[in-house]
Symmetry: C2
Subunit: 134 residues, 2 copies
DNA sequence: CTTAAGCTTGACGCTTACGTAAGCGTTATA
DNA sequence: TATAACGCTTACGTAAGCGTCAAGCTTAAG
């Protein structure tokens, strides 16, 4: 019935090594079932892995990801804990907004330097070099 | 005439330790002048540091940042190298766009979970708990 | 004169996030 | 039956990015 995945299934789907997935389990980010010795991952594990990898690309530490997962579980079991989770989410939201500003600034700088480069390529030999390196 | 900065000036302005700035010099990201033994940073050094720190917040490695600085200098000296720099910039631009998508996705997930939390906080005791943990 | 503030160069230490064997069990295909 | 193919654990290795002394120079203030 419920879809399950082997460790290599997930590794291939998300382009990581099995070592990475085992490491995430060691760090408490994933809690796959066992079938004999082998790990059996549920769609929930898959969702967590997806989130974890996205978080990692955005610079979250594994321990912060674990903490968020734990807070989420706590919040669902005990509504009193929901406020704690909410606060942590809000903190991260602010950081993510700042990160987006960083990205926009960086994209602006990249297009600035790219334009300088294109001018250099076009003006080669024609006029004086007005470009300035970083 | 030209504005200069001490190592602590820059450390305080950007909220990093002097150790970090020295480390960046060791890694070839900064090349301050010397006045006796002390480092003297120009506005150009300051600009590089600012860029480097932004890059770091976005997950650039120090060696990639150094490479970009070097390519920029090469491009300005020799227009033939501008194409190389341009290509590297384009690669990073693509990654940054992807990163922005990650941020948007993550912000979406955060507001989803935040809404679940708020519902939990409001519905406490009233109805059944329909929230699902990650 | 000496004490403190700020600078320097080593150089070892630490954390994170895995990589990389080593050595072994299970299943399936040739 | 052997030889992959896939999985497991244990455990040392490693690269990046600084932290953290240690030990010493210099210059201004008390």
């Amino acid at each position: 019935m419920a879809q399950t995945y082997s460790i290599t299934d997930l590794a291939q789907e998300f382009g990581v090594t099995t070592r990475t997935i085992r490491h995430y389990e060691e760090q408490g980010l994933l809690t796959p079932q066992r079938e004999g010795m082998s790990r059996v991952f549920s769609t929930r594990d898959r969702g967590r892995l997806k989130l974890a990898l996205r978080g990692k690309r955005l610079g979250f530490s594994l321990s912060e990801i674990r903490e968020l997962f734990e807070l989420s579980s706590l919040a669902c079991e005990d509504p009193k804990q929901a406020g704690v989770f909410l606060a942590r989410l809000e903190k991260r939201r602010v950081l993510l907004e700042q990160q987006r500003e960083d990205i926009d600034a960086m994209l602006g700088e990249i297009s600035f330097f790219a334009n300088q480069c294109r001018r250099l390529l076009i003006d080669t030999g024609k006029a004086k070099n007005t470009a300035n390196a970083i």
